[in-house]
Symmetry: C2
């Protein structure tokens, strides 16, 4: 039976709180410097939906497991996510994350205020601290994952979870980041959907898939290879992740600014290679392509120009195309759930997919 | 019975080769981009003594274990070390490592040559690739450590090794890096030995201690807490690491340029806070302190000035003081070996300490 929106939001919030609580009370990082600690904790402490821990806990419950046993792993995927955000923000030279300063900007501010460093030195300090803070988050994610052992998850299952996080998930996510870096340095005409879709799957799908599978492994007390539910949930959440990112690119063009957390049209101004834009460029007449080329990636583009470019992308079918693609990924995702038993917790997972793909929350 | 220098060097080279071989044949990182892979492998492939894997393997043998069982862990500590070097080199904005380009410089060159990026874009690409390559090395180090399980190390021992690498060693090393960053942004007069010595212990001692202890744990098939030999070897190698770094700072002033791999006096020119320099500054008369202040940290200081500053540091007892301190650390280190049985492999460990502290190889 499907769950109502309100009941789902309540379930989600309860899990976010449980994870947040554990993150703060179990902070046993032996780090002496307050500024490093503050930089590493910045994103963790900001309120968020904690969608990755949620799918891990829901997946655990869906296969009949005890969510409390999975709590260290749920917390681990949140920290793992935060590692990738901190390093990604340095790479993208972004100043804000969820409306607040990025980790490297925060650390630079601390260096200016507390150490009296001049702007250039503070900037260097900020970046150094954020590189190290990211490293700390990655190591701590793995450490917390191993703490599942304290909750009676069998040792071979814990070893398998850790080996897959360090040996499969991390390289895949890093590879996705690197594809992103390479694409950002290439002219748009040399970037295709066959670059973007694998990048979205690696940067976002892989971790969601890992989280869902980990929940199933813990719930069933089995390694990934011995747990068919883990494979189904992995494929499910991985495809949901791509749909989520496609939706994100659509919202970047036609979304609601307050919900988006950045001005609509920023992606166009930054010249970001997205599926809707690439589709439009591929189907544009030479004159249209030239006009788009003058606006996209132009930091001085004015709102009127951005609105014009958005209308053109829509007219050329870019938004419909991305929307259809997202729908295909979601349909594929849902098929992977067919093999799961119809427990009440399975309804949470379906609601999670709706929530993720709607993006209107 | 002590081993001869030649026999020790042979033993060391054999282990370096075994680790190097394993590193190259077991490269199963699922990364699609050649440039990322090349950046991550740059340091690993450069010839080196591989002192960290060596102490791990010697420690394993010294407690009666089988070195082959410890090979994945030995390889892991080498990768772990390489992660810290790659990120450290970004932070220090260094161009060379062991006479070849640092990882970020190498990746920038690849971006210029293969992608045709202009210098600024190539520099950004290089730094991004090196941040991600370091992340990859850290994750892969933990993955390889877990592969000890494939060689029949008991699961609880493998879990303990991984938990200590991710939960203790990584934060301690990162903390050391951060202390270094903070010290580098402070005036020399505000840096003391009570900053430098913990920094050296964290940046260098912790990993050597971890490696020695891990070898003992694997050799004995026990967790750290159940393995007194691990604790002794940890304390031993940790103290050796501090002595090694003190020696390094002395050689930076009065060493042989070819062996050092950088011009003698570079540390003075960069204004690096070292034990000999801080001691000299503390004991300098006001005029001497002023004269040192004009030379130290001055990028335009000429060789004659650097030689003058070096002579002053020596005259003020800085070198003797650092040498005595190094000797004290080594004496303390050797005492920790007393509790170990006098096996032939113990002689390797003693030879390793001599080798490390001599630094003339």
């Amino acid at each position: 039976m499907p769950v109502s929106r309100d009941i789902f939001l309540e379930a989600l919030a309860a899990r976010a709180e449980r994870v947040g609580q554990w993150l703060l009370t179990e902070d046993d990082v032996p780090v002496t410097l307050g500024r490093l600690r503050q930089t590493a904790r910045a994103y963790v402490e900001r309120p968020g939906k904690r969608l990755r821990p949620a799918i891990l806990l829901f997946a655990c419950a869906a296969v009949g497991g005890d969510e409390e046993q999975a709590l260290p792993a749920a917390t681990a995927v949140e920290l793992f996510h935060n590692w990738s955000l901190v390093h990604d923000d340095i790479i993208d030279q972004d100043d804000f994350r969820r409306g607040q300063p990025t980790a490297h900007r925060l650390a630079a501010t601390l260096a200016g205020q507390e150490l009296g460093l001049a702007p250039a030195a503070a900037g260097h300090y900020g970046q150094s601290a954020a590189i190290l803070a990211g490293d700390l988050l990655l190591a701590r994610a793995i450490r917390l994952l191993l703490r599942c052992r304290d909750r009676n998850v069998p040792p071979e299952v814990v070893l398998d979870l850790a080996a897959r996080m360090a040996g499969h998930l991390a390289p895949e996510l890093i590879d996705g980041e690197m594809i992103d870096v390479e694409c950002s340095h290439r002219p748009l005409g040399q970037v295709g959907e066959n670059d973007i879709l694998p990048m979205l799957e690696r940067k976002t799908g892989a971790l969601l898939g890992y989280a869902a599978a980990a929940g199933a492994c813990i719930g069933r007390g089995r390694t990934y290879d011995q747990c068919p539910e883990a494979r189904s949930l992995d494929a499910f959440a991985r495809a949901c992740g791509v749909a989520f990112q496609l939706q994100d690119d659509i919202l970047g063009l036609v979304g609601d600014e307050r919900r988006l957390g950045k001005p609509v049209g920023s992606d166009l101004r930054e010249g970001k290679a997205t599926v809707p834009l690439l589709h439009a460029l591929r189907h544009a007449a030479p004159g249209q392509r030239e006009r788009l080329g003058q606006i996209v990636g132009n930091p001085r583009a004015v709102p009127g120009e951005l609105a014009f470019a958005t209308a053109l992308v829509r007219e050329l079918g870019g938004i419909d195309h991305a929307r259809n693609l997202a729908r295909t990924y979601l349909d594929t995702a849902r098929k992977h759930l067919d093999s799961l038993p119809g427990t009440p917790a399975r309804a949470w997972i379906e609601a999670w997919a709706d929530f993720l793909s709607d993006r209107s929350f």
